[in-house]
């Protein structure tokens, strides 16, 4: 048995879904669209289990957005098995828009139950709703509930049972013989408008009969907005909230990440101790186990960001953040809701890309996902730091105070940011030109965040990342490991060379090493030799791997950055007799790292969030072409003018 859960955005639909289904939900993507599907299991009072299908939040069923389209197709049985009954969540404080959706559901001629939600807010607002009258006039069962407090859930289950067992199709005489709005819109827009108006007239009359309001003198939400949306005070507070959120994602997750890395290291040592050396052990430990480590190392940042996002969204502040940032973001071709995803991408693009799901407009969401990896993430920082330590740290400060290294890092952050703006602009003029969508966003009333909804959102995002994105990351990690581990040096050779040298030779003569050599002619115009080539190949696992790969190639003890810095400085190009690692090469390499997409985990995440390989592949091509071109220009122009 299947029951569909419909409702407006912000109607408390997710909270009700959680209240009805308990702990678990299956979350996936509908094929071909970027809309997420959620299925949970619940039980009728008589013990019969049923599947609860969470429809995307929508105002209408006329399929003007991907969400409405999906909702429409689920209800008509086009996308999956047609539901046996529909539960529509209506926010009691937003009756007219909620009832407008109800009108469309009634027209579907399926058993229907209305869950009249937020009854606590209704009472607090001094409203009284005559439930019996409402049910009678709509010819639909209406159950008053408060999903946040779990009130009315038992009664709702009983109403669902009756709707299924004793089906009754609502019938409103006034709407008999009317065509659907979607049909009318296709044939005649004025007729569609007349239909919409007729429904709202019906709703207005209905509300006048069933709702009585004792006006309260103060609207709390408006009072808070007066402060939080203030051009000065509101913005100041916003900056404070964002600094806090960024701190959490960037810094507070650091010790947990460290602990995970230590734990994984211990696990790897343990596995190596337990299993006798063999190629199977190498595959399991260096391939799979390291790949699993590459997945869970992202969890602290994802959890931190989604905790913050869920609190902001639940409380109603996220929409206010969009209000405050939209003017600024509009100027760079994005919208207000893109701010938080892009900001968190400075810590890591993966949670940032996942956070883009809060953007309703498909086009804005895709643009945001596409440009998020341009933000200099924390994995790029070790690369910048190494290059600066090796090549720029001895330079005198600019104007006596500003260190060259600091300026360069700042320049790299700006470069990524401006590249994002440029690419966003081009995307909107080209690939995503045809899908402009209005920016219409509701400012929901402020509410205390529900701790259950918040924790559930964090757990859901983490488990989706592990189970759906993680598989791809592990698979790609194993492939990359195999490229670096094969063909293998034989054991006698390892003994003869000693460990540090063996690891250098192993990498050099592996497939990745050969690839690094092979691409040397291609990357030479950027100032990179085959050693950087091999490290670049290796850094596709994660950007910071460049540091350890260079350590391996220069045959220095990988743990000690100081010796790698010395090795890089001491490296002399045998043909020119000059330093192989000039400051120009360093800048070219940094520019490459700013712009290139070389993070398998990001690729896997974009695939998961956009539902196809099309977007991540387009992103790889765009970003890496841009990186190549920019580094080429830096090195060639730099060489010409004598650097």
């Amino acid at each position: 048995m299947r029951i569909a859960l419909a409702g407006n955005p912000n109607s408390g639909k997710t909270t009700l879904f959680n209240a009805l289904t308990g702990k678990r939900a299956r979350i996936g993507n509908y094929p071909g669209v970027t809309v997420e599907s959620r299925h949970g299991t619940s039980h009728l009072p008589d013990g019969t289990p049923y599947t609860l299908v969470d429809l995307p939040g929508c105002y209408s069923l006329t399929a003007q957005s991907p969400e409405e389209d999906v909702a429409n197709r689920i209800l008509s049985g086009d996308l999956e098995q047609r539901p046996d009954a529909i539960v529509c969540v209506v926010d009691g404080t937003q009756l007219s828009r909620g009832l407008y959706l109800v009108m469309q559901l009634i027209a579907l001629k399926q058993p229907l139950v209305i869950a009249l939600n937020m009854m606590d807010a209704v009472r607090a607002n001094g409203m009284h709703i005559d439930i019996d009258q409402l049910a009678k006039r709509l010819d639909v069962t209406v159950v008053p509930i408060c999903a946040r407090r779990g009130e009315g859930i038992t009664e709702l289950q009983e109403a669902i049972r009756r709707a299924v067992r004793e089906p009754h199709l609502p019938w409103i005489p006034a709407f008999a013989g009317m065509t659907t709005i979607a049909d009318a819109q296709k044939n005649s827009p004025p007729a569609a408008h007349a239909l919409i108006d007729a429904r709202y007239q019906f709703i207005d009359t209905l509300i006048a009969h069933v709702v009585s309001v004792t006006p309260r003198s103060v609207d709390i939400t408006e009072r808070i907005d007066h402060i939080l949306l203030h051009p000065v005070g509101g913005l100041t507070l916003f900056v404070f909230v964002m600094v806090l959120l960024f701190q959490a994602v960037f810094s507070w997750s650091e010790p947990i990440i460290g602990a995970i890395e230590t734990g994984m290291g211990g696990l790897i040592d343990l596995a190596n101790g337990l299993i006798p050396p063999s190629s199977t052990r190498a595959l399991l430990v260096d391939g799979v186990l390291v790949g699993v480590g590459n997945v869970i190392v992202f969890l602290p940042q994802i959890a931190m960001l989604f905790f913050g996002m869920a609190v902001l969204e639940e409380s109603g502040y996220l929409a206010r953040a969009a209000f405050l940032m939209d003017g600024l973001m509009r100027r760079v071709g994005l919208q207000g809701k893109a701010f938080v995803p892009l900001l968190s991408s400075f810590a890591c693009a993966i949670p940032g890309i996942m956070a883009a799901r809060t953007i309703e407009s498909k086009r804005d969401r895709l643009v945001t996902i596409f440009v998020a990896p341009f933000m200099s993430c924390s994995a790029r920082l070790p690369v910048y730091v190494l290059i600066i330590a090796a090549l720029f740290s001895h330079m005198p400060p600019v104007w006596g105070v500003l260190s060259v290294g600091g300026l360069l890092i700042a320049a790299m952050y700006f470069l990524g940011f401006f590249a994002a703006i440029g690419v966003a602009w081009v995307l909107k003029k080209t690939a995503l030109r045809d899908a402009p969508q209005a920016f219409i966003l509701e400012l929901p009333a402020y509410r205390m965040p529900n701790i259950k909804t918040v924790t559930r959102s964090v757990i859901e995002r983490c488990s989706i990342f592990v189970s759906q994105t993680g598989r791809v990351i592990v698979a790609l990690s194993v492939v990359l490991w195999a490229l670096m581990a094969y063909p293998r040096l034989d054991a006698a050779e390892v003994v003869r060379l000693g460990e540090t040298h063996a690891s250098q030779v192993q990498l050099e003569q592996s497939f990745a090493g050969k690839l690094g050599h092979a691409i040397e002619p291609v990357i030479q115009p950027l100032g990179f030799d085959w050693r950087i080539g091999i490290s670049l190949v290796a850094s596709f696992a994660a950007r910071e791997v460049l540091v350890s790969a260079l350590g391996q190639i220069y045959a220095v003890n990988g743990q000690d950055d100081g010796s790698l810095v010395k090795a890089l400085r001491a490296d002399i190009d045998p043909t020119t007799g000059k330093s192989a690692f000039t400051p120009l090469v360093g800048i070219s390499l940094m520019v490459f790292f700013v712009l290139a997409l070389q993070c398998l985990s990001t690729v896997a995440t974009v695939r998961r969030e956009t539902g196809s390989w099309r977007w991540p592949i387009a992103q790889i091509i765009t970003m890496n072409t841009l990186a190549y071109t920019a580094s080429f220009l830096v090195y060639q122009v730099g060489s010409l003018i004598g650097f």
Binding site: Q201, D225, A438, L443
Partner: protein, 86 residues
């Protein structure tokens, strides 16, 4: 519609902060016009411009007890009748 009562029909975006008006019409063949109509922007409904974001964008409207954010570009799909002070 515009030639019969030319002086009183205006764009929603022309509303001043704190001012209210009555919705006269939404654009008929635009996606945005349809969406807004379905969100309750029906003729005769009262609408108020509550405030504008930093730099004048976006606009916050109050319609049917709901607070909605909209950009001026999108507000052009809505036409209003005479204005009166809030």
């Amino acid at each position: 519609m515009t030639h019969t009562c030319h002086n009183t029909i205006r764009y929603l975006a022309e509303l001043g902060v704190g001012q209210s008006a009555i919705i006269a019409q939404t654009a008929e063949s635009t996606n945005t016009g349809n969406r807004l109509r379905e969100m309750g922007f029906t003729p005769g409904t009262e609408i108020r411009l509550v405030r504008c974001g930093p730099g004048g964008c976006p606009m916050q409207f109050s319609v049917r007890g709901t607070q909605l954010l909209m950009r001026a570009d999108d507000a052009r799909h809505v036409f209003i009748q005479s204005t009166r002070a809030a």
